[in-house]
């Protein structure tokens, strides 16, 4: 057997085809991310933006770099990072956002798993219909769907009135659903559920059913068949779903803004506040960097735990 022969064109074709997406990521992800890191060490401009490093010399009309080896302290600073650690409110807000995103991910997983299983085990026609139904919400605008939840959860809605009527029978005070942490979690789960269902379904669909038959023949009960066969095989789908739900949920600001009460702020709202309300780009950049770092740290811990787990086996 000889190795498959690729022509010269073949080797370049690989790069040629992937050049546009690579270039796109470089231009619109890597470079902006670097700009953000640089911005975190600079001072905010009076009206947003940053204190300029380059200015036009009024005498010569030429553009000049203001930054020199002597005066760099006027332009670069660690102060923005210091601010993050000088008050515990920022760390607390990070923890709260992680808690919201984690809870959302867990609820999504618990809801999506049986649903994905059902879809994967349905006949072809039913399966296509069910997948279509999962994707269907994407056809309407995200904000409109969140506004619909404002109406559903509002105190005047049938849902709230029936629920509170029911609670009233047991002498429980009526609860207010809208503008609460509960409403934020409902909104987060609702928006992210399809992102858990789709990768799980893609994974579960490929499972070899004869493995389950074999397990049954060897005397495994339903729970053992799930826990020893299906669950370990589905882990790649679970991890993909967890990443697709957890990371966007962590940075969400629109849902806490619309559905949240006075105590539902998340880290995304704080970052938005820096860039809009306070026009403080450097501190906003610091918060964004911290968010990225904490997600990376979490992923690293998960990967490390995963590799240890494998070694034990």
């Amino acid at each position: 057997m000889s190795k498959p022969v690729y022509g010269l064109g073949g080797r370049y074709a690989k790069w040629l085809i992937s050049a546009p997406p690579l270039l796109y990521l470089l231009l619109f992800f890597a470079i902006p991310a670097l700009i953000m890191v640089f911005a975190a060490f600079r001072f905010p401009g009076d009206y947003g933006g940053l204190v300029p490093l380059v200015d036009v010399n009024p005498d010569t009309g030429a553009r000049e770099l203001l930054l020199t080896a002597e005066n760099w302290r006027d332009f670069l600073t660690f102060e923005n990072f210091g601010r993050f650690f000088e008050d515990s409110i920022y760390l607390e807000l990070f923890l709260k956002s992680f808690w919201y995103a984690g809870l959302t991910t867990l609820i999504c997983l618990v809801l999506a798993y049986p649903l994905s299983w059902l879809i994967a085990r349905s006949g072809k026609k039913t399966r296509d219909l069910l997948v279509l139904l999962v994707i269907l919400p994407f056809w309407s605008n995200f904000l409109i769907r969140v506004y619909a939840w404002m109406i559903i959860l509002g105190p005047q809605s049938y849902f709230s009135r029936v629920l509170n009527g029911f609670l009233g029978i047991f002498g429980i005070e009526p609860v207010s659903l809208l503008f609460s942490q509960f409403a934020v979690i409902i909104g987060l789960v609702y928006v992210h559920l399809p992102f858990m269902v789709l990768p799980l379904y893609a994974n579960l669909e490929k499972h070899d059913m004869s493995l389950l038959d074999a397990a049954q023949d060897l005397g495994a009960n339903a729970w053992q068949r799930f826990w020893k066969v299906t669950w370990p095989l589905s882990l790649p789908g679970v991890w993909a779903g967890v990443a697709l739900v957890f990371i966007p949920a962590l940075g969400m600001f629109a849902i806490p803004d619309l559905l949240g009460g006075t105590n539902s702020m998340m880290i995304g709202n704080l970052i938005k506040q820096q860039f809009l309300d306070s026009r403080d780009w450097p501190f906003g950049s610091v918060l964004s960097i911290m968010l990225t770092l904490s997600v990376l740290l979490l992923a690293a811990v998960a990967a490390w735990a995963g590799s240890r787990h494998k070694k034990k086996d």
Binding site: Y47, I89, Q156, L178, G260, D277, S278, D280
Partner: protein, 352 residues
């Protein structure tokens, strides 16, 4: 032939751009009928884009947004636009209607001599409320105590929203404590932050986007917001024949006044149409339309004759001399002060 095609394309392109004015304005701040009349008048098309806060508008324009001709900022947003060189001086020779503006609204601290801006209309920031429910509870809405005093709030827990706007909410809390809305004294700010923290557990939400709707359907009984929005909510509730009545009033401790102004952007594609629009909106009748349809306050002397009498009677829209004394326009905050307020605001919003 090629030249002919090119010329044709150029004129087509020019004709396309020739007739479009891009207005960047507050949402709910111009009547559709007024836009239609201007379009007929200038034989052009008006394309509108909206913002919900000054910060949003400033952030977008500072970041270099292009294509807008006219922008309508509140007073304190004028200096940032001027200092960043984003706007151009107004050519008064092309604005004969500028003479209609009430002199009391000219020559403000934000633009001495009105080199860059002319007033469009104004709003007050106040409390809108469910009159029926507050009467039942015997709550007087003419004091900021309704949203800040825990004793009063205990009766309406979960039925109050306040603006998700650091400047406006701090101004209200400062005035409730007897300080100036424009105070930059750290101790007074701290006191205001304490007031907000103590009241926060009783509020339903910080809300800038949907309080009109929440008031109108009866979910919320007291909302901190802008007078023209309260006007809208009241009209909507009447139109929907609700079992309750909405109303709004100024607070005895004082309110903030937002005078919104028309400015022409430096990189405006069509400064000529922009000036036409500014002049059109300064016409007495057109300016009165704004008040009649959206309930905004009117800085135009020539408009008075066209404003509906029932609107003239609303104290929050046409404050009398005594009420006017208690109205304050917010100053522009810069650098350190803005950062300090931001820190307090984050503390207030994350406090349990």
């Amino acid at each position: 032939m090629k030249k002919l095609l090119l010329a044709l394309m150029m004129t087509m392109g020019a004709a396309h751009a020739a007739d479009t004015l891009h207005v960047y304005n507050w949402n709910n701040y111009i009547a559709p009928e007024t836009v239609k009349r201007f379009e007929a008048d200038c034989k052009c098309k008006v394309v509108q884009d909206y913002y919900g806060s000054m910060e949003e508008m400033l952030a977008k324009l500072s970041a270099g947004a292009k294509g807008y001709d006219v922008v309508v900022p509140t007073g304190f947003a004028i200096p940032p636009l001027v200092k960043q060189n984003l706007v151009q001086p107004l050519d008064k020779a092309k604005l004969p209607n500028a003479k209609n503006v009430n002199p009391a609204f000219l020559n403000s601290q934000f633009d001495k001599g009105n080199q860059y801006s002319l007033p469009y209309s104004f709003t007050t920031t106040l409390l809108g409320y469910n009159e029926t429910e507050l009467k039942k509870l015997g709550i007087d809405p003419t004091s900021w105590a309704v949203i800040f005093d825990p004793k009063v709030l205990a009766k309406i827990k979960g039925k109050v929203t306040v603006l998700d706007d650091s400047r406006e909410l701090f101004a209200a809390a400062l005035m409730y404590n007897g300080f100036s809305a424009n105070s930059v004294n750290p101790d007074e700010w701290k006191k205001a932050a304490e007031t907000i923290k103590a009241a926060k557990p009783f509020w339903a939400a910080f809300n800038t986007q949907s309080y009109i709707k929440e008031l109108t359907v009866g979910n919320i009984w007291v909302a901190h917001g802008y007078s023209n929005d309260m006007f809208q909510a009241q009209q909507d509730a009447k139109a929907a024949k609700r079992a309750f009545a909405l109303n709004y009033s100024l607070q005895k401790e004082g309110n903030t006044l937002s005078v919104d102004n028309m400015m022409v952007l430096k990189n405006a594609p069509r400064p000529d149409l922009a000036l036409k629009f500014v002049n059109f909106m300064l016409d007495g009748k057109n300016s009165a339309d704004l008040t009649n349809m959206i309930g905004s306050g009117n800085p135009n002397s020539a408009a008075a004759a066209f404003v509906k009498p029932e609107i003239k009677a609303i104290a929050a829209v046409f404050p009398n001399a005594e009420a006017q004394k208690k109205l304050q326009q917010l100053n522009a905050l810069e650098g350190k002060q803005l950062r300090e307020l931001n820190k307090l605001w984050t503390q207030v919003k994350t406090a349990r």
